[in-house]
C-alpha cells in the first residue's frame, strides 16, 4: 500500500492532477458536459488505397471521461486511435489535444504531451525484465523536460516503477523476464507501462482480448481505479466490459461515427442494433 501512496505523491507534482485525484471514480464529479475538452478531431480521414478506413470523423472527448469505441470488425477503430496517438498520419482533417493542434506531431512528442497508447497485440520488450519494461516508461515520463543526458533520480524512478507494478498487481513478478510472463500478465504489463507514463489520455486497444473471465473482472476494477486520474479511451468488443466501464460510447461503422451517447442510449439505438448489437 505504501507504493500506491508514493504513486499519488508523484502524481501531485504534475499540474492539473489534483482535481482528478479527488474524484473517486469516473462519472462522478461535475457533469460530463461541463468538463473541458481534452481531445477533438474534425474531418479526420485516413485512406489506404481505395479504402476509407477513417472517413471524416468529428469526435470530441472531455476530461475525466471513460469513452468506449465499439463497432464491427473493420469499422476503423484501431486506425482511428492510431491517428490519435500518431502511429499513422491522417490523409485529411485535424486533431486538437488540449487546444493544441497535434495533427503533424510525431508519435513520441504526443506521448510527451500526455497521450499514451497500449497495443492491441501485446507489444512489450520480451527480452527485458518486467521491471525494466516499466522503468523505460517511467524514465520517459521523468525526462520529458530533460533530454538525452537528463539526470534521473534513481530512487524516485524505482518508486514510480514499483507503484505502477503494484497498481496492476505485478510487483511480485518484477524480476521475471517479460517473455516468460503469462499472456494475461503481459496485458497487465502493457497497462502498467501506460500508467508509468502518467498520461492524461490513456488509449487502450482491446485490452481484455485473450483474458479469462476472472482476469477481465480484475481488469475492470483496475480501469475504474485508473479512471480516477486519467481520461480513458477504450476500444473493446466485450459488451459486458463496455457497459460496466464506459460513461459514454461511440459506435463506429465503415470509418464513420454511427452513434454516440451514454450506454443506455446506445443500447436502445435501432441503427446500432442493426449494425452491431443485433448479432
Amino acid at each position: 500500500m505504501d507504493s500506491v501512496t508514493c504513486f499519488e505523491e508523484v502524481d501531485t507534482s504534475r499540474p492539473g492532477r489534483l482535481q482528478h485525484i479527488e474524484r473517486s471514480a469516473a462519472g462522478s464529479g461535475p457533469h460530463l458536459a461541463d468538463r473541458p475538452l481534452l481531445l477533438e478531431t474534425s474531418g479526420l480521414e485516413r485512406h489506404f488505397g481505395g479504402l476509407n478506413a477513417v472517413d471524416g470523423v468529428d469526435f470530441a472527448l472531455r476530461e475525466g471521461e471513460v469513452r468506449a469505441i465499439i463497432g464491427p470488425n473493420g469499422a476503423g477503430k484501431t486506425t482511428f486511435v492510431s491517428l490519435l496517438c500518431g502511429r499513422l498520419t491522417p490523409s485529411a482533417g485535424s486533431i486538437q489535444f488540449r487546444g493544441e493542434d497535434v495533427t503533424r506531431l510525431p508519435a513520441y512528442r504526443r506521448v510527451g504531451r500526455g497521450i499514451a497508447y497500449t497495443f492491441q497485440i501485446t507489444n512489450v520488450f520480451g527480452n527485458l525484465s518486467v521491471f525494466d519494461n516499466v522503468m523505460l516508461a517511467a524514465q520517459s515520463c521523468m525526462r520529458r523536460r530533460g533530454g538525452f543526458f537528463a539526470r534521473i533520480d534513481r530512487a524516485e524512478l524505482e518508486c514510480r516503477v514499483t507503484a505502477a507494478l503494484s497498481a496492476v498487481g505485478l510487483d511480485s513478478r518484477a524480476a521475471l523476464k517479460t517473455g516468460e510472463l503469462a499472456y494475461g500478465h503481459q496485458r497487465l504489463l502493457e497497462v502498467a507501462m501506460g500508467l508509468a507514463l502518467e498520461p492524461s489520455l490513456l488509449i487502450l486497444d482491446e485490452p481484455t482480448q485473450g483474458l479469462s473471465d476472472s482476469e477481465i473482472d480484475e481488469f475492470c476494477t483496475l480501469i475504474k481505479r485508473i479512471a480516477a486520474n486519467a481520461t480513458i479511451l477504450l476500444i473493446e468488443h466485450n459488451m459486458h466490459v463496455v457497459m460496466q466501464l464506459a460513461s459514454r460510447i461511440t459506435v463506429m461503422n465503415r470509418g464513420k461515427i454511427l452513434a454516440e451517447g451514454d450506454p443506455e442510449e446506445i443500447r436502445c439505438n435501432p441503427e446500432v442494433q442493426a449494425a452491431y448489437l443485433a448479432a
Binding site: 496517438c85 513520441y108 506521448v111 507489444n123 520488450f125 527485458l128 523505460l136 538525452f148 524512478l157
Partner: protein, 318 residues
Amino acid sequence: MTLRALRPAGLHVVAVLILFGLQFVLSDYEKLSLTRIMVLAMYAVGYNVLFGYTGLLSLGHALFFATGLYAAGLTTYYFGFTLPEAFLFGVAVSALVSLIIGFVALRTSGVSFMIVTLMFAQVGYLLTSYFIEYTQGDAGLSLTGSRRIDFAGMSLDLGEPAVRYNLALLFLALALLVVYSLVRRPGGRVLVAIRENEDRTLMLGYNSFANKLWAFVISGTISGTAGVVFALLFGYVGSSFASIQYSIDALLYTLLGGAGTVLGPVLGAALMIVLIDKLSEFTVAYLLFVGVALIALTLWFPRGILGTIRERWAPWIP
C-alpha cells in the same frame, strides 16, 4: 553498497589490471602484439555501441577508424601538427564525420542501413586511393617528426614499447569507461529498448532517431579515436585500414566476444588476432580455420563468449 552491486564495475577494473600486469611478463614481441590488439579492441568497443547495444549493423565502420587514422596522420605528416594537436583534430573530425554519415544513414534501417554504411566506407576507401599522391595508397606514409610528448613535466617517447603499451591501455580503458557508464545510464537503456523493439520505444515517448544518432556519433567517435591512437602510436597510416576487411573485423570481434557486453569486443579482438597470428605460422590457409571457428560459434554460441556466460551463469555482466 553490497559486494554484489560492485561486481559489474569490479569485473572491468580487474580486466584492465590484468592487461596492465601482463606487460611485466610478456616478451617484447608479445607486448607489441598486445598493444596492437588493444587499439583494435578499442575500435571494436566503439563498434559494439552501435551493433551490440543499439542493434544497428554497420558494415562500414572501417571508415571511422580510417577517418581518425588519416586525420591525425596527414596533419602530422604535411602540416607538422604536434602529437596532442593531431590527436584532438583526429577525434574532432571523427565525431563530425560520424554525425554527418549517421544523419544520412539512419534514414534507413535493416539491410538498407548495412548497404548505405558499406557504400560510405567504400567511398572513403576509394578516396584514399584517388588521392594516392598524398596518401601513398596501400604503401602508406610513415610519420616522421617528433615522437615525444611533454606532459605535466614528464617526457614520453612513443618509440618506447612500454610507453606505447600503456597509452594503448589507457585509451582502451577510457573507451571501456565511456561505454560502461553509457550502458548503465538511463540513456543506455533506451538504446537497448530500440534494439529490442523500436516501435514500442517510440510509443513510450522516445525520439528513436535522435537516440540512434547519439549512439552512432559515440560509436563512430570511439572507433575514430582508435584510428587516431593507431596512427600516432605506430607512426603509420595506410589505405588498407579503410578496406572492407576492417569493417568486417569489427563485426567478427564483437560477435566472437559477445555483442552487447562491454568487454566482449576486447575478448573477441584478442582471441581472433592471436588465433590468426598462431595459425598463420603453420599454414597460409588460416582464414579457413577462422571460418570454421565462426560457423561453430554461430551454431552453438550465437551470443558470443561473454554473451553466453551472461545468459547461463552471470546475468549481472553489463
